[in-house]
């Protein structure tokens, strides 16, 4: 059982930590991507 407890702890800590960093990056970069999308739809790209 010890193996599984360690595995799930690692999966949780790594997953939540990485997701938190990704969420920060997506929030900032995603706002710039919206501008690109709207420009594309206006036919500017």
């Amino acid at each position: 059982m010890g193996f599984w407890i360690v595995l799930w702890k690692l999966v949780f800590v790594f997953g939540v930590g990485a997701f938190g960093l990704m969420a920060l990056w997506v929030t900032v970069q995603g706002a710039r991507d919206i501008k690109f999308l709207l420009d594309t739809l206006r036919g500017e790209h």
């Binding site: 059982m1 599984w4 407890i5 799930w8 702890k9 999966v11 949780f12 997953g15 939540v16 990485a18 997701f19 938190g20 990704m22 969420a23 990056w25 997506v26 929030t27 900032v28 970069q29 995603g30 706002a31 710039r32 991507d33 919206i34 690109f36 999308l37 709207l38 420009d39 594309t40 739809l41 206006r42 790209h45």
Partner: protein, 531 residues
Amino acid sequence: MEPFSEALQGTQFTGLDWGIVALYLVLSVAIGLIANRYVANMADYVVAGRGVRTALGIATLTGTELGLVTVMYSAQKGFTGGFAAFHIGLAACVVAFFVGLTGFIIVPLRRHKVLTIPEFYGKRFGRRTQILGGLVLAFGGILNMGMFLKAGSMFIVGITGLQNEAALAIVMIVLLGLVLLYTVLGGMVSVILTDYVQFVVLSFGLLLATGFAIYKMGWDHIFASMVTLKGEAGFNPLLAESSFGGDYVAWMLFIGLVNCALWPTSVARALACASEGIVRKQFMWASLSYMIRNIIPYFWGICAFVFIMESPMLTGAFFPVAGVAEGVDTLYAMPIFLGRLLPVGLIGIITAAMVAAFMSTHDSYLLCWSSVLTNDIVIPLAGERLSERTKVMITRGFVLLIGIIILLVSFLFPLREDLWDYMAVTGAIYTTGAFALLGCGLYWKRASSTGAVLALITGSSAVFGLGAVQVFVLQHLLRFSQERTEAIAGQLTGARVGLAAIVLSTAAMVLGSLLFPDTNRTQGDETWVSG
């Protein structure tokens, strides 16, 4: 007082929290309505003019695939299966990363420049396969979506303590109405813009609530309690005594592939990307989202289990003495737990995040199934006579029609399994056939249209994994006794039926293609493009 009413009474949800939720709803709909100005044709409406870049792609993929229904069924799995349920999230992460790394299915599919998966069937195998594929996809998809409203309503009841049935119905109809409004008007552009806002609210809401749960309950205490309450079965998914087992783990690996490479709402994001490189990057990064969308709600379900087992009143409500009373549905465990754990204000933000999840999934699914019905059934039948404007109008009509159908299914269909297993089986009605058609259609030159039709038909046999269908067939059609029905149903789990359907549909595809190869006349209208 009834145990259920008693369990709902401890929530800390207040007027301030309702205010936060209402503010969020107004913001979402306003963005959706503004997007309407940017839609000029069917490609803008369905794939946002293919102008989506990596970060926005991840936001919209996560916004779509991390729905309230996902949070609800995952929390239920965590509640019933413990940490052993984490294998489902890990499998989803590994498979999505593999798909991103190799471009398996999604990259060659994108090269065909199709708007939907059945459109690829049409190009590769002909119109007959496209229409049949569209019908199977829409049937499985709409049935799959049927439980979204029910799960959403159960969350709102659990976290707010709202017990008035009429008020609850009004809340659900208003939510569905708002989603319909901005999806019908703005199509994929409004879906993507609102998905971005929903991603921000949802991601930080999930992280905040998880941190708060650990802070209040204690990291070591949660693990130690699970060891005491469930033993190894709460951690090892391969153990027969756990809620899973080896066949279930194999089934989850396939479902992981389904969710990222075969499920139309995910594939639609790949088709909306600006380049193949962005598609790959999007899926590799989103593999984290595929894991987290399961892992965090499992963790909430586990915390809810520990919390409930430490409260004699809640333990009595969820696990009453056999024969004395019926236990509260385990889907309510997580929202009741959050309602009691989170403070005023934070509970409003989390509910707004969950409403965000509810809306971002509904809008994409409504758009996806309606564009399949238009693009793969109506247009092939009508020929080239329809104008772009008429196509968008028909798609909007289907969005409304599906909204009405899911409202009916949600409240009328009897759910006999864990919600996650219902989702996996209804999804498999389409995905088992799609696996054979996409796998062989993209990578095997000799795959034929007869093989494709046979694979679609045999793949839809996965519907027999549903408990309600088994009872209908065995007890009502074949007149088996209740004991015999239950004994057979106990062996025919969703996982076993699903795995059998994959083998059958792939075999049908291969045998059908070898025995009935395409002649020039029966072939699809596109030259074979190598994967």
